[in-house]
Symmetry: C2
Subunit: 165 residues, 2 copies
């Protein structure tokens, strides 16, 4: 089986264009370090404090410090001061809407790792709270169909196509 997407419209053939505004490449400019993904994993798991991020993600304190700063600068995490009675002021980190919207990326990576890299299919699973069924990442079209990988066309976004007369 060929595992390629069909290029349609002005995207065919591939050699006729350059991927200049590719939003996959731009997403990778913002987040691609392994340690950044692991910090985001911990944020989804409810971790908020520097020491816990470093310990639970298994990364060094200097790297944790740099990644947290980058993730705050990019608007994926927000840092806020908090203070428990009798303690000094500390910082905690929370996912923003922008950061939380990366969840499908993390779930897709976990799903792939569970399928291809773990004999037993992975130690944990996500479940839908409503019904208890396991949750997976699916490519779904706006009409509600699950789109198989051999049913996908890549096209110029319809906003950018000339309107028919």
């Amino acid at each position: 089986m060929e595992h390629t997407l069909r290029m349609t419209g002005s995207l065919y053939p591939r050699e006729a264009w350059t991927a200049e505004r590719c939003t996959l490449a731009r997403a990778l400019d913002v987040v691609s370090a392994r340690s950044a993904f692991l910090i985001l994993r911990e944020a989804f798991y409810g971790t908020t404090r520097f020491d816990d991020f470093a310990h639970r993600a298994g990364i060094s304190e200097p790297v944790t410090s740099r990644r947290l700063r980058e993730l705050v600068d990019e608007g994926l995490l927000e840092r806020e001061d908090y203070r428990e009675p009798g303690q000094r002021t500390r910082q905690r980190y929370r996912l923003t809407d922008k950061g939380a919207d990366l969840l499908p990326v993390l779930v897709a990576l976990m799903q792939w790792g569970s399928r291809w890299l773990d004999d037993q299919g992975g130690p944990v699973e996500l479940r839908h709270r409503g019904c208890g069924e396991p949750v997976a990442v699916q490519l779904t079209c706006a009409a509600g169909h699950i789109a198989g990988p051999d049913e996908l066309d890549l096209a110029v976004h319809r906003r950018l196509q000339a309107h028919p007369r």
Copy 2:
């Protein structure tokens, strides 16, 4: 809104366990370099030859060479010899089933970049060949429900749970 997953069963509280077999971390061991994702993008776009990967992904030849070798070693791409009449033997690269199964990761990253990093929502879109509707990555449960981010529980995989008597 809190953007965290609910930990259930023995996964609550988070500090009680270490993510030792985490398949997200293991997936990132296999693929996390920006250039690896861009080479996979090109493979999905039908690119097969070394020169085209380097040129179209916009990465140097030494990095292209290293990434292609790593992706072949990890079983995400396969390399095969081919020879056109009157030409010398050359290599081409194709996605394996294992590599092609990373498509949801790439689509999820592209979707996030289009939503958060591009004023116009990105230059290209995927469409379902059957009906022409745009395709998105969705978290879907086995009962067919689209699971919102605030409806997700993380649980020990049911294979690993003790069977009820």
